[in-house]
């Protein structure tokens, strides 16, 4: 390798780093053999500074650039642009943060440290290699798994953005479950199904399920089973909207089938139908006796309690641990319920529910009164638990993604929040992520649609080619990297009749370097953060 010609550009940020003695630093750096030019500036990120930097790179034939200025997060992209203007690969630059990490952070001798930091950056810059960009074709098709409210609204929005969408529905028709929940959650399903039926951009595959998936973002090969037959179709992105599952939790297992103990859904159907004879005189709701997450149960209970008051005029009691009113309008619903005479009883421990003389008896310890409260009423609407849809666990292992402690997809990782997953091109929206109300689902849908659109809109996507690369000569196919890659970006490929080696997908890779850190054969090179480039920065310690 021929010796690098390093250009160092130091910026004092318009005099914001008065405690650094820049001429001393320049003197010291000038003495380094392969440093071709050291430039002091006070406005490097502004137009004039950039122009000077550009002409210096060109005039001196500089092929590695070191910028010592503010934090790279702020202006790195500006300086990368200068490199590109000079027909230099933008990866041939190393930055030293002498402002936030030096001048502004210390009271003592900052000049020596600043000089050390710049030398670290020079050490790294010396070893930098260009990383080319390339375009990959992506399939402009989105697969939506689910047939509920989230899936339908995602499909409608994607279609508006011009992306062809396939809805994979497990039921025999669209929106079966959503229709049942219409009143409970305040949804309107019919206009959506009609819009989808009219839309030529949306295809519906009913009574089908996803049974396999291979490939990476931009080109997932999805195996679909429908009516005993399987076929493979490719999609650029996949949005999962598999919804939740609600189950009634009877306190006494023996009383599950009782007509006196009903689910929220059954109560809603009951309210919708002609009024029962005789009307229940008293109705009690019990919720949140076993779970912290009570957003949906709260909303549904408040809606139903009000409906009971309106339609039947019964006495209504709500046994609750925690009324979670963080949904839009929930606080208002709660006040309405109280004004109309709904009695809220805050309990500790699980209440005992039993059938006595054809009536339901509830025993609970009231927190506010500090004593046991017993209530006998006609109907109890039992607690419902919101849990992930059936098959979520299989989906998790099929996709190689993680679930949260309750088994919902897309766990609460703030870096992926709200809908992205650890795999590029795969999104989770709506109640498969947890118990979300309608407003949150709408926000989810928009985020996922934006994500899919960003990936697929151009039909091609620009990626860094081989930034993280496996050396096929060194790879012993031990599968360690494939096992640890959090983004499922590594696959085994056959290179000849004898050997298979690991290969990293440029599109699926998120450049974390975990594979490079763990590879026992040191076969993975991560441009910009290779072992040599990291060690070169440590090397400077002794020298300084």
């Amino acid at each position: 390798m021929t010796e690098a010609k390093i250009g160092v550009f130091i910026c004092d940020c318009g005099g914001a780093m008065k405690n650094i003695d820049f001429p001393t630093i320049k003197g010291e750096l000038d003495a380094i053999a392969d440093v071709a030019s050291v430039n002091l500036s006070s406005d490097l990120c502004l137009e004039e500074g950039r122009a000077k930097m550009l002409s210096c790179i060109k005039d001196e034939n500089i092929d590695r650039v070191v910028v010592a200025a503010c934090a790279p997060q702020l202006k790195e992209h500006v300086f990368q642009q200068v490199l590109r203007s000079a027909a230099l690969n933008s990866y041939l630059m190393s930055m030293a943060d002498i402002r936030e990490q030096c001048s502004w952070a210390h009271e003592g001798d900052v000049t020596t440290k600043a000089c050390g930091l710049i030398k670290m950056a020079i050490g790294r810059a010396r070893l930098l290699q260009p990383v080319e960009q390339k375009d990959l074709l992506v399939k402009q098709e989105v697969l939506l798994v689910g047939g509920g409210f989230s899936a339908m609204s995602s499909a409608i929005q994607l279609s508006r953005l011009g992306l062809h969408t396939t809805l994979l529905v497990g039921d025999s028709a669209l929106g079966v479950r959503s229709r049942e929940l219409e009143e409970l959650l305040g949804l309107e399903v019919a206009p959506m199904t009609e819009a989808i039926d009219r839309d030529k951009n949306i295809e519906i595959v009913t009574s089908a399920e996803l049974v396999g998936m291979e490939g990476t973002a931009g080109n997932f090969a999805v195996r679909i089973r429908k009516g005993g037959e399987e076929f493979v179709q490719s999609f650029g992105a996949i949005i999962f909207a598999t919804g939740p599952r609600t189950e009634i939790l009877p306190q006494d297992p023996g009383s599950k089938s009782s007509t006196r103990i009903v689910s929220q859904e059954r109560l809603a159907r009951w309210l919708r139908a002609s009024s029962p004879q005789p009307r229940p005189r008293s109705v009690a709701f019990v919720f949140d006796s076993s779970d912290e997450c009570s957003r949906l149960p709260t909303l549904v209970t408040l809606n139903n309690a009000l409906a009971v008051k309106r339609s039947w005029g019964s006495e209504v009691y709500v046994f609750c641990k925690n009324v979670k009113v963080d949904s839009e309008g929930a606080e208002e619903l709660y006040h309405q319920a109280r004004e109309r005479g709904v009695v809220f009883l805050k309990f500790e421990d699980s209440p005992g529910i039993s059938i006595e003389d054809g009536l339901v008896r509830i025993e609970a310890k009231d927190v506010l009164l500090g004593q046991d409260a017993t209530l006998t009423c006609d109907v109890v609407v039992a607690e419902e638990k919101v849990s992930p849809a059936a098959g979520t666990d299989d989906l998790r292992s099929l996709l190689n993604v993680r679930t949260d402690s309750r088994g919902f997809l897309q766990d609460d990782n703030v870096h992926l929040y709200p809908v992205a997953s650890e795999r590029k091109g795969i999104f989770f929206v709506g109640d498969c992520r947890g118990d979300l109300d309608a407003a949150r689902i709408v926000a989810d849908v928009s985020s996922a649609v934006m994500g899919a659109h960003e990936l697929l809109a151009r039909g091609r996507i620009t990626v860094e080619a081989e930034r993280v690369k496996v050396d096929p000569q060194k790879c012993r196919a031990c599968l360690t990297c494939i096992r640890v890659c959090p983004h499922s970006a590594i696959q085994l490929v056959r290179i000849d009749s004898e050997r298979e080696v690991a290969e990293i997908s440029d599109l699926a890779c998120d450049a974390c370097g975990i594979c490079a850190g763990i590879c026992p054969a040191k076969a993975i090179a991560f441009q910009g953060y290779s072992d040599e480039q990291i060690l070169a920065q440590i090397e400077v310690l002794k020298a300084s």
């Binding site: 370097g513 953060y529 440590i538």
Partner: protein, 130 residues
Amino acid sequence: MSREIIAFCCEHSATPAANLAGRLGLHYSENLRLIPVPCAGRVDVVHILKAFEKGAAAVLVLGCEDGACHHIEGNTRARERVRYSRTLLEEIGIDGRRVGMFNLAPDTPHKFLDIVNETNETLKELGGGK
């Protein structure tokens, strides 16, 4: 042994926390040398050991909070490697407390300061540091 502390800092958490500390004018000792890495999981045992070979007084690996790693489990992998490095160091007679793994969020510059100060306190006892 020099007095330098080498800190491998995740670019999604510790590096922004350090930058925020600077921007807020929170001062810490200048013996800290920050090496940004895209994820704490990038840090290899070799990097930690090399730092000691070059005379570092202490090595820190700083990553995202548990359960909130940008790359899902890079921080837990880093913790494993730090633990392993510690056993290697102790084997050759270097106090294992000289290497540490810490988790912090990008908006916690005070925690960053605490970690640096704590390390310097430990170094007072062990020698080196500021």
